[in-house]
Symmetry: C3
Amino acid sequence: MSSYTLTEVANILGAEVVGDGHRLVEGIRPLDQAGPEHLSFLHNPKYVEQAVESRAGAILVHSADQLPGRDLLISGQPYLAVARALELFHPRPRPETGVHPSSVVADDLELGEGASVGPLTAVGRGVQIGAGTVIGAGCVVGDGVTIGKECLMHPRAVVEDGCRLGDRCILQSGAVIGSDGYGFATVDGVHHKVPQVGIVVLEDDVEIQANTTIDRATMGETRIGRGTKVDNLVQLAHNVQVGEHCLLVSQVGISGSTKIGSHSVFAGQAAAAGHLELGDRTMVGARGAAMKSFPEEGNVLAGFPARPQKDWMRSQAALARIDGLRKKVQQLERRLRQLESSPEGEKS
Amino acid sequence: MSSYTLTEVANILGAEVVGDGHRLVEGIRPLDQAGPEHLSFLHNPKYVEQAVESRAGAILVHSADQLPGRDLLISGQPYLAVARALELFHPRPRPETGVHPSSVVADDLELGEGASVGPLTAVGRGVQIGAGTVIGAGCVVGDGVTIGKECLMHPRAVVEDGCRLGDRCILQSGAVIGSDGYGFATVDGVHHKVPQVGIVVLEDDVEIQANTTIDRATMGETRIGRGTKVDNLVQLAHNVQVGEHCLLVSQVGISGSTKIGSHSVFAGQAAAAGHLELGDRTMVGARGAAMKSFPEEGNVLAGFPARPQKDWMRSQAALARIDGLRKKVQQLERRLRQLESSPEGEKS
Amino acid sequence: MSSYTLTEVANILGAEVVGDGHRLVEGIRPLDQAGPEHLSFLHNPKYVEQAVESRAGAILVHSADQLPGRDLLISGQPYLAVARALELFHPRPRPETGVHPSSVVADDLELGEGASVGPLTAVGRGVQIGAGTVIGAGCVVGDGVTIGKECLMHPRAVVEDGCRLGDRCILQSGAVIGSDGYGFATVDGVHHKVPQVGIVVLEDDVEIQANTTIDRATMGETRIGRGTKVDNLVQLAHNVQVGEHCLLVSQVGISGSTKIGSHSVFAGQAAAAGHLELGDRTMVGARGAAMKSFPEEGNVLAGFPARPQKDWMRSQAALARIDGLRKKVQQLERRLRQLESSPEGEKS
């Protein structure tokens, strides 16, 4: 394991040293696991006390005021600096370039400089793989696929025929790009397959995580915008269009032909029905499910069916008190009955 | 790309030409993407205007009245005709027959005429693969598996030991047929595995899509009826029985031993608890979850726990107004208090 | 198929014979499928009648009183005895030991006695595989992985770099152990990947079922405690800590850094948000979602957001009656209006 002076680390991370720039660190650890040889980090002010007590040699923080007297790295973006420090201390080993002899690749493969295809991987005809891209073990890349530069396919990821990946895309293990969409023409109760002849396009810097499935378009493209990150076990149906820099958290499901604007977030197990339009910066809370379009920008939605989060919270609160409401109504009825049966009531 | 006259296409699709039967078309495209060399289609009357403006050379429609003056193909089942046209213009390339030399197959493999096993696929002992079936790259077929005629296994699909597929079944990438059921005998808080010694049977014309899992029966069979289509990331537990021509949409989960009648539909993320009986033509709406049996035919269910959709919609509507109800009760209470405290009220 | 006398079976199962210990049985079947040559079983008193009518040669039961006059095996733990009988009658065939010649393994592989690596499997550098462990076809085992004794990896399971499995762990097909966690540092709307440099540890006797994904820790460990069993299509995020002997049923999702105490149960499609603490013996019902910590032992939770099951059931019941409540309030209002408009009301 390499070690670096704080000044060296600061230069690489774009941070500023407070304290001893000559101090050596050889790794990055959470506050409670760091020793004097480690850099640690503090994002969240509620852990200041833990930081004070930490044995870490140096700490990445937002502001020097938080930890007076310690050796610090100051960064305006401490979490991004942690990401950079993790890259520094855990450089990804690069596999040997070229095609592993156990793999089966068509003879027309265009393999970019420094790219590699791991063992036991099958690559079809007419495939282009960009410079520096790493295809892991046990993957399958179909006919006519294009993969950009500096991509990474983890073991056993699949890209089916004709799909296209931009540069710096990452597929985690078991991800399936370009499975058939769920399209059937039903006649007299029998479902006839509608051939799915479109493709999937992942723009640059897209990451698709483990065992997530993205269906090819019936015709045309299913498209995932630049910089969008999709967690594990997510389902994106045929002809879905996801904008740029979106976050789709685990187990989300988006039905066919729905369009999601850029910078949107779907929290865990959220969903959207088919053929909807959701504007830029739409947020759907955990388990929320958009069942109609919300084309305006910036909606914050929750619940099933999803509605503005404030409305949902109000009805959730009311639901929690519903039993009290029921009792209140019973009591009012008793009081009313008493009034009705009073002599004056009877007279009326 | 081949081109066809409208009359040729009409004959293949079982449609009728209105207009110029000699017109050549070389592909099928959506209304907004079609040019004069393309066939397009109109299912939904709300797109008539788009069809009028489309540059498509010809349009598949239900009735000639919809688009006077255009070259048309008339079909009583226009969506089915689209499916047929997609097959016509996008014929699936057939891989070379036989076993790819990189694959590992037992020497007792019975491989039907015209069938093929793609690269880097493992096939166990005692396996039968029917005529015309295509096993893709990176698949695993366990010992004693039987696969019918004209099936298609996409890359990296798995059929574990002893399972049986009928004719014309399709497995999308990452589908797992015959994983162990979730069965444990718990004694003093420790869970002991119950061996799962049954199998999975897919009847004819079943399609199982990407990364869906179907567990083998503990004993006996997990069975998916003829013509049933199962979308991505669905879970079907041990001993589940799904009837014929059902649709199970993405991320549905059906618990152990539940029986679902024929022609039933589970919309996205719907579910059923274990050991239930659901009659033929049961519909469960998106996110609905059947928590008890509904053995009668034709139930339309929604919500969690699922109840008749009408009841569910009524309580959803009431829930949306619950805050208003609460305020109304407060107001009634004030008015009642006023009455109670009026001189006549006090007398009573 | 081997056959055994009831006495032999009783000795192996730790059960007691009532009736003819010399009777031969050659398999175990459910009550309705068993013939005179089979052992069957009765767990649930509601099937006593079926047991009486069963043609089974012998029946495993909890108490001899349940089925007078039949040949029986009596066990205090009849379901565990069924598990043992299934093992007896369906011994798992052991593959040939050693590495299949089609597999690609690094030359420093430490392979324990009797262990085997199936066809078309890739094993990285610095891997230890314990005695008696079976790695199936098409699996991928990353660099630096440690797998204990008597484990079983079904076809196409993946264990990524550096992860550790204890003894007797089982991975079903398509399971992914050690995919990257979903960690991004967002700056000006752009999501920068945070390298995920931790690992996943599965303690002894853990089973992870088909297409389930377990993300490696950002730093440190994602850990699944001894004896825990995880069903299909479950998502366990980075740094999750699951205690011992838990059950996580199909399609459950646990968000990052959440800790689940031992002997807890998450029913189907349940979930927990991130950074929560759930005490030992927590039960979360089907579709329940813990959105805050419940650190005490033994909570029984339901609903979204999850609350004590009793509260949830009460509000579900009230919700089902909400339409009635609304009508009651309308009626009260009418009666109140009548009182208010009576001569006495007007006077006040």
